[in-house]
């Protein structure tokens, strides 16, 4: 109990929030490495709070393949939408796995345990990944399977959702594309208690490339 009187409420939380904000702001101008590690740390914390799982891996075809295959476990089929931002060669090891389907039939699209796409951006304050849905089947692959796997490059993490609507961030890509901020798995509280896994994915696994 205890009413958070407005001014106090902000007083007590303000310092830590301000610091975090300051760190986010500074990161734009500071050395890349420091900035990114801070954004990555914030992103990971927020994504886990949103009930996603996060894994940071080396930027190599083998490391990426291993990470994805570990995440999908014993799924008998894996939907895959090839990337448009990341080099396709990064996915080359993964794409040769016999379970991977790149051009799924409608039947496969609705009856597959896992879907893998890239994300062209991620958001540190909310733990979101941004999926471009204008290419081929990216939208469907990232939506219909119970497990969603998203692969994002560490340098594409921005501090806040609003940054996707700035012309000077990520070349203004957020202003031009059809995309979805994905924050955790699909969820509802409409049936009483909070349930994760509704129409969309039940689980979200995010792979961040160093």
């Amino acid at each position: 109990m205890g009413w958070p009187s407005e001014e106090h409420f902000s007083d007590t939380t303000k310092n830590s929030v301000l610091l975090r904000h300051l760190r986010c702001k500074l990161s734009f101008s500071m050395q890349q490495a420091v900035a990114q590690s801070s954004l990555l740390a914030d992103f990971t914390t927020a994504a886990i709070q949103a009930v996603a799982t996060v894994q940071v891996v080396d930027r190599s075809p083998t490391a990426l393949r291993d990470a994805i295959l570990q995440a999908v476990g014993d799924a008998s089929r894996i939907l895959y939408a090839p990337p448009h931002e990341l080099p396709a060669s990064l996915f080359s090891d993964f794409a040769t796995d016999p379970r991977v389907v790149a051009n799924a039939t409608p039947d496969e699209m609705v009856n597959t345990a896992a879907g893998v796409t890239e994300a062209f951006a991620a958001v540190a304050s909310t733990g979101s990944v941004c999926i471009d849905v204008s290419f081929e089947c990216t939208g469907i692959v990232s939506l219909m399977a119970p497990l969603q796997v998203a692969v994002v490059a560490a340098e594409c993490i921005v501090p806040q959702p609003r940054d996707l609507f700035r012309a000077d961030v990520l070349d203004g890509r957020g202003l031009k594309r059809d995309f979805v901020f994905v924050t955790g798995p699909s969820a509802t509280a409409d049936m009483g208690p909070l349930v994760r896994g509704v129409h969309g994915p039940h689980k979200l696994h995010i792979i961040v490339l160093r």
């Binding site: 407005e6 001014e7 409420f9 849905v133 979805v180 901020f181 994905v182 409409d190 509704v198 129409h199």
Partner: protein
Amino acid sequence: MATLVNPADINPRQVANKSDKKALLDAIRMTLAVQSPAVRRNTQTFNRNRYAATALLPDYNELKDRARQIKESAIANLPELLRQLEASVRANGGHFYLATTAADANQYICDVLLRHEAKLVVKGKSITSEETKLNHALEAAGITVAETDLAEFILQVADEQPSHIIAPALHYSRERITALFKRKFTTDLPLDTGEELTKFAREKLREQFIAADAGISGANLIAADSGSLMLVESEGNIRMTTTLPPLHIAIAGIEKVVPSRTDFGTFIELLPRSGTGQPLTSYVSILHPPLKAPSFAAPGKTAKPREFHMVLIDNGRGRMREDPVLHEALYCIRCSACLNSCANFETVGGHAFGGETYSGGIGGSWEAGTGKLLNARFSELCTGCSRCVPQCPVRIDIPWLNENLRQRMNLEQPASAAKSAFGAMTGSAPEDRVAPLQKQFFANYHVLAKAATRFSPLANAATRLPFARSLMENVVGLDRRRKLPPFPRKTWQQLHRDQQHGDRARMAKSGLPEVLMLADVFTNYGSPERGMAAMRVLREVGLKVELSPSLPDGRAALSQGMIATARQQAHALADMLLPYLQKGAIMCVLEPSVLAMFRSDYEHLLDDPATAERFAHGEFLDPLQVVWSIRKELADGQRSDLAQVFPASRSPHGTRVFYHSHCQQRTCNAAWQTIEILRFCGFDVVTSSVECCGMAGSFGYKREYYELSMAVGEDLFAQVRAAEQEGGPRTLVASGTSCHEQLWAGMGREVLHPVELLVSTLG
């Protein structure tokens, strides 16, 4: 006497339209009996989460200012933006239709669907389509509609209207959903957990998504520069609705248009946090359809090319835009913060505090704007507590909208000789004399209180007579179950004059400004000792205090929608106070509802903006704010600090207290100082966390709202009981007159004002 229908048998649809007052009263009985626990749990969760989520935004206030600016300029430039939007949508390859009425929009959508020979449509949540009753129109045209948002799915199965703008079935507990599904579907599944219910609905709806010929969505925002939509959801059904079928129709009100996609950056931070209290919901789609990716073809079918129609509806919005007051409602981004922070809404939800589509504090303006004025009758449940105001991401003054609706509804009343004579006698402004007797009675309560105080023994004896209470109940609707606080023998002013003649107060410290204490009518005629205690506290810390004449401030009249009367009273009071303000006195106001009047309502009531500005910006303070503001000066005097002036250990009431601050006091940011001071003096303070006690001035006295008022109060009473479970009773302390009466009614014991508690330490 007519037999009352069992509240559980009242169907929400039957009482959705509240132009008839009986529907409102039945709806209150029904929701209290059936829906209240689920509504409470869900809205209060949203409410707590919103406080936490917005506190994490370092620039929350700047974002709100920005959002307000964007909406103000968008609504001002709406015709131009609509032209620009039409061009953008067409350039993207989509179709654009601007519908004048609901029927017009429905007809267009039916035509498009019939042209495509669509048989099955999947729908994302769209409250605008509830407003147009689109589903009925589609079904009449032989088209099957599948609501895919699980809340809308429940409502479709139950045939009920939404009870909340973002969680339309939040009045359903899990148990009631199980019962509903078992009744409506043939299934052997137990369906007795949230997971099972979700799985059951998901499987049904997955088939529909795959087979759907078209998808209909709403839109949270639309950008004119690019034809972009922002769609906020968590279930994934809106993504499926907009991605899978080849034909996508988006329906939205014209007020959803903002100039540019860059504006989404402001709203994406505010909307989810203000709504569910999440940093972001699971999915926020930013699309400028038609999508470039191919549509989904069900197994065995061939994919069709995509087609997109944007259908914007006016349906009264153009008229709202021209309305000097209601245009503000068009800024609403439908986040639900005003619903979740409203004590009455938390207790009954939108089936009582709402109409056929829209609900809560903002809902009255929408029902009136898109329908008939009297459909907004449920806005009577807005008590003006103002808790929604700081929560609104676009800073809409929701109580002011509702006070205006009330005024307009008063004006629709027929005039009568009795009302006119009563109004003239009690001081209602001429145009307000058509208002119902009950409203004029509460608006001019100070006149009656003044007379009653003059003859207090007689008045107190009279109000205890059963026939007097029954007369008051029948004539002005004052509920006889409410204990009336006794009228004092002497007013605050009389007590003050007596004291001036008797022993003089301690000498004021030199250098400190003089304090003018406003003799507000509530304290002057209701609790003069409390007023005297406030002056004593100020004198104890070395301030020289004067008491003003006692004039009504307009609060009571404003709350009854008698705006002309409130204006008259505000002007008279401002004229009286201005000389003191100009002298540079500290202006002190004991009653929080009067403080709030100055801070936020006088800008609407006073003609001179410069004077209104002085009233709005902090020149008036709660007495404990005054003490807090000079505590530093106190430290260099002969007594070193507050704890030595008012040591809790000396209070005969003990050190354990339960403090409930007043709703409007919190909105004025004038509550935390009291808590600080009490703790500083050594009191062990537990505070309430309810938004409002439920009394809200006259509201809890009215016969028709007594049960609701007590139901709202129950949350507060439960918090007192919880705080007393460990360590025994606590002294009840509250800052507002109404809160005192409510706590007194609910807990059956004495309630002190913080100044009375402090005075008790003086021995």
